[in-house]
């Protein structure tokens, strides 16, 4: 998944709370944001609304008090200082303070700004490569004045050329998506310092390709295999252009990143753009050091926060402790936005999940109020599109007169109820039997008006694929159901168990790991059973779910979550919804094998593999459009096409609450991932309270 404070496009593993505790198996996966089941008081006023703006910066950096040590807690240890070999977000907390990249992103406007590279220009060439796309040359200049490596060595253009070529040669997995379009990086013969050749136009190259870490040639040139290199074992530690120096390293318990060591040597935070972005403070870091303490559990981590042993923690306060944090006068809670979403996804390879109206009915049965307001106690927002609300530029509402998250076009698949919490069984059945489908055209569907799509796109499928009817209950799962449905669905005259050798199954976490999630899934399944759809739960561990969904595609539906999505959407849409990233494990990749078990791509749904469910054209257009507004428009259209095609039901966006000790000020509020994805920005401007 795309990421982050350094503009890097590497995918980050996040070991969060609840079901996400073991999500290291799949990049960027998180759980569904479950807390631990403890009662807390919900408070809707705490939910950030999209019109909130980041906090204002102080006028003059010279007035900001400097010094002090910021103690930071993490629930998972950073296991290496090798930025190439690890995709862990917890490693990034340290290495992102060490390494710099060509361009930097600001988390307020999501604009790319000069960093190590001072300026750049791209040119689409007439020639095309093997992929049929036009090659692109990107010319850029490198800032060498005043930049030094943190071990005191001089930084040169040669380091940049070396870095890219080293990365291309080694091709570390976490950077593969950003590296794959790069054909070469060389010193330019003309007016520019360097030229990078891409095998296709990429409007977000400043984020994707310029986000790669710049490595010191004098340290890495002798490293033949990056996977076996551990900077912590060297005489100095990791060497980079960033503001930090690792001065203590015990990955099991504690790490210290000193900024005082680089005082007067690091000047990238003084770049003029930082003074122009609202809320961003130039001239940091203002702290002497960041001390990272590792705790073995979320409970211990939170205890340390409330005892004052740490000033802040990674990600945010768990839902069950938010009220405690609100009552603690020593802690300020900063609001933020999710950088991803929680979802239920469907296997489009299986009948009747291959049919759009059937998938849309699955949305009509999901009680989003129960999920977001009751079970999540208001600390989650209702989900709709596959882009979180903080990334407004690529959400379909932008440019329309409809409100973010609340517009009627975002409610096309909301819960249809005949009375509170009771699904509108008769009208939902009628939706199927009458051959209705929400294609993007306005109309009234299951008793609710839908004004039509925001961007003008339509669903890939416009007519039902199957003939639906309802008859006597025959399936065991419905006969044994407490819901006691009076009818069962028939697909082309057959029951679903007759077609699939059993009912549909929903893969879910054990209830003790994710109690609210389990409760929600049970409610959803009950609603579907009331309608007459034979579906059952299958309780599996997180790892099994990942393997079944992404490794084997052996599932009908599963629940999961994504974090650290790209604010520019293009890479995210490509990674999660393009047919290039959909596996077919029934076909062996290697000769002699019975089946393919080696690939593990992110598009587990198979979206884009079929003619009547895909957005490849729009995603490709977004990826190869250089002009920002046209690119964002294509992204918005792709996002809405995916919404209408419904391969994934977005069930929520989290509402992070990032705690910071009252002793510290300057942190940015109301940005996506305030204590995780954009932690780097926060560290650069946090300072002692006056």
């Amino acid at each position: 998944m795309s990421d982050n404070q350094s503009g890097s496009t590497r995918r980050r593993f996040l070991q969060g709370t609840g079901v996400a505790a073991v999500s290291a198996s799949l990049a960027g996966c998180s759980g569904n944001g479950d807390g631990d089941g403890t009662e807390t008081s919900g408070d809707d006023e705490d939910t950030p609304t999209p019109d909130q703006t980041p906090t204002e910066a102080q006028d003059d950096a010279d007035d900001i008090p400097t010094g002090g040590i910021f103690n930071f807690g993490m629930g998972t240890n950073p296991n290496t200082l090798n930025a190439l070999s690890s995709s862990s977000a917890y490693v990034g907390v340290i290495t992102d303070r060490i390494y710099e990249s060509g361009a930097a992103i600001d988390p307020v406007n999501f604009e790319m700004h000069p960093n190590v590279f001072t300026d750049w220009e791209s040119e689409v060439l007439d020639e095309t490569g093997d992929n049929g796309q036009s090659n692109v040359e990107i010319y850029f200049n490198v800032r060498t004045d005043g930049l030094t490596w943190n071990d005191g060595e001089e930084f040169t253009v040669s380091d940049v050329i070396f870095s890219y070529n080293y990365l291309l040669e080694q091709n570390p997995g976490g950077y593969a998506a950003s590296l794959s379009p790069i054909v070469s990086v060389e010193e330019d013969d003309g007016d520019w310092d360097c030229v990078m050749t891409l095998n296709q136009p990429n409007g977000t190259f400043a984020y994707d390709q310029f986000g790669l870490p710049i490595l010191p040639e004098h340290r890495w040139s002798d490293v033949d295999d990056y996977t076996t290199y551990e900077p912590a074992d060297t005489d100095f530690g990791p060497v980079g252009l960033g503001p930090g120096v690792v001065t203590q390293w015990d990955p099991d318990t504690s790490v210290e990143v000193s900024f005082a060591e680089r005082e007067g040597e690091y000047n990238l935070s003084e770049l003029s753009w930082r003074e122009e972005v609202p809320g961003v403070i130039a001239g940091g870091p203002f702290i002497d050091a960041m001390r990272i303490r590792v705790y073995s559990s979320q409970s211990a981590l939170h205890q340390a926060l409330f005892q004052g042993d740490i000033d802040s923690l990674y990600e945010g306060v768990r839902t069950s402790r938010i009220s405690d944090a609100q009552e603690d006068e020593n802690i300020n809670l900063l609001d933020g936005f999710d950088t991803g979403y929680g979802h239920y996804s469907f296997n489009l390879r299986n009948t009747p999940l291959d049919d759009l109206p059937f998938r849309q009915v699955l949305g009509f049965a999901f009680d989003d109020v129960l999920w977001t307001q009751q079970l999540q106690r208001g600390y989650a927002q209702e989900g709709d599109f596959v882009m979180p609300p903080g990334y407004t530029a690529v959400r379909p509402e932008t440019g329309s007169d409809q409100e973010l998250l609340d517009g009627p076009s975002t409610q096309a698949f909301s819960f249809r109820q005949s009375s509170p919490s009771v699904p509108d069984v008769e009208n939902i059945r009628a939706f199927l039997t009458e051959g209705q489908v929400i294609t993007g055209e306005g109309g009234t569907y299951v008793g609710q008006d839908y004004p039509g799509s925001l961007t003008g796109v339509t669903a890939s499928q416009t007519e039902p694929k199957h003939d639906y009817s309802f008859g006597p209950v025959e399936s065991d799962v419905l006969q044994e159901s407490d819901q006691d449905p009076d009818q069962e669905i028939r697909v082309n005259g057959e029951t679903i168990p007759e077609i699939n050798d059993g009912p549909l199954t929903m893969l879910m976490s054990p209830a003790q790991e994710a109690p609210q999630s389990a409760q929600m899934i049970q409610d959803w399944i009950s609603s579907l059973q009331q309608i007459g759809i034979p579906i059952d739960r299958e309780v599996v561990s997180f790892n099994t779910r990942v393997t079944r969904a992404y490794g084997e595609e052996s599932y009908d539906a599963f629940s999961m979550g994504w974090v650290n999505l790209s604010p520019f959407a293009t890479n995210t849409l490509y990674s999660l919804f393009h047919s290039d990233n959909a596996d077919d494990h029934s076909v062996a990749e290697t000769e002699g094998d019975d089946e393919n078990t080696s690939t593990l791509l992110n598009n587990a749904m198979g979206y884009g593999v079929f003619d009547d469910a895909g957005a490849d054209d729009l995603i490709d257009e977004a990826r190869t459009t250089l002009e920002p507004e046209a690119r964002n428009q294509a992204s918005r259209e792709a996002v809405e096409r995916i919404y209408l095609d419904f391969p994934t039901m977005v069930v929520d966006y989290g509402v992070p609450k990032w705690p910071v000790s009252a002793e510290w000020s300057g942190a940015l509020e109301n940005i996506p991932g305030p204590g995780s994805t954009y932690l780097g920005t926060q560290i650069m401007q946090i300072h002692q309270s006056e």
Binding site: A21, T547, T599
Partner: protein, 329 residues
């Protein structure tokens, strides 16, 4: 005088070795039966099939399973535990770093528990049926039924959160403002280990007491105890030298079992006290499907138990002179 014949000892060592081979084989099969592969975390979207194959090649996953098994068995017997994909480090380094921490905590707990438990058991067994026996025994049963993590949280709440006397995490002071010397290291470890040890031994002694008490009670009726009394030896001497020594044999067996339970408990306790030992790494390696680390941790713990079992055999012969292993061979 040795009471174990060399041949018997050699036989026991061979059996222990074969036991470890079986355990290694089981570990290999069980860990690979877990869903998913540890290289999942290294594969990302956009990687070509060649890249993925390269990763599989690097980690030996393209080899047939039998080949992987043979490599695994050979490597382990030569001390090569492989490299952790999660920690990007040789597994042996991780073990060397973490094993001592676990041994310090649980070694100390084990020793204290197996000193207090048998002593109390000796006393209660000797005075069985007395008021003290009844009250201490029922209290200890109550303690024994309490989960160790709950007791630990209770102690943390009282001694750390409320009183602020003792730290609840880590083995050393993080970012100390004092110089490390032998004295400060010792003092700092004792300061940090106090609360985990208090929590563990608070209930940890009961197990050995429960073994010692009835055994002690049984030996009070033995002829050699009557003889000792008849000789006019003091009550204390009879109880300790003649009765307790013989009652210790089942306790020694229980110690091996107790050690296994302690290791089991380390998974919970190390996480509660943020003690960076083997217990923590077991949890994270299994969750991350870091097979090299998981295999090595389980293997080393198995080695520990097998060695302890062997040592117990030797200890038996010194506790009870009547026991002679391998005499008839």
């Amino acid at each position: 005088m040795t009471r174990i014949s060399g041949k018997y000892l050699a036989k026991r060592i061979v059996v222990s070795y074969l036991t470890l081979l079986v355990i290694m084989s089981l570990l290999f099969v069980l860990l690979r039966s877990m869903p998913g592969s540890f290289i999942t975390s290294m594969i990302s979207s956009g990687m070509t099939n060649e890249q993925i194959q390269q990763i599989r090649e690097t980690w030996g996953l393209n080899e047939p399973l039998w080949r992987q098994y043979i490599d695994f068995m050979i490597n382990y017997q030569t001390g090569n535990f492989g490299r952790s994909p999660t920690y990007n480090a040789p597994v042996a380094d991780l073990m060397i770093r973490r094993m001592p921490r676990t041994l310090v905590l649980f070694g100390a707990t084990f020793l204290i528990g197996f000193i207090i438990g048998p002593l109390v058991g000796m006393y209660l067994g000797w005075w069985r049926g007395s008021k003290k026996d009844k009250s201490i025994f029922s209290t200890s049963l109550l303690l024994y039924s309490m989960p160790s993590f709950w007791i630990s949280w209770l102690f943390i709440w009282v001694f750390n959160y409320e009183l602020g006397w003792l730290p609840s995490a880590y083995m050393f002071t993080q970012f100390p403002e004092f110089q490390w010397t032998a004295f400060t290291v010792m003092r700092d470890v004792l300061y940090h280990i106090a609360l985990p040890i208090m929590s563990l031994t608070f209930i940890g002694w009961v197990g050995s007491m429960l073994i010692m008490r009835p055994t002690m009670n049984q030996v009070t009726d033995e002829g050699y105890v009557f003889l000792a009394h008849a000789k006019g030896l003091s009550e204390r001497t009879v109880m300790i030298k003649h009765a307790a020594r013989n009652a210790l044999i089942p306790v020694a067996t229980g110690a091996v079992v107790g050690l296994a339970f302690l290791i089991d408990g380390s998974i919970i306790i190390e996480n509660v006290f943020n003690w960076p030992g083997m217990g923590q790494i077991i949890v994270t390696s299994v969750l991350n499907r870091d097979f090299p680390v998981a295999q090595a941790t389980f293997f080393l713990l198995a080695v520990l138990v097998v060695i302890m079992r062997l040592v117990t055999d030797v200890v038996y012969t010194y506790l009870d002179p009547r026991i002679k292993f391998g005499e008839g061979e």
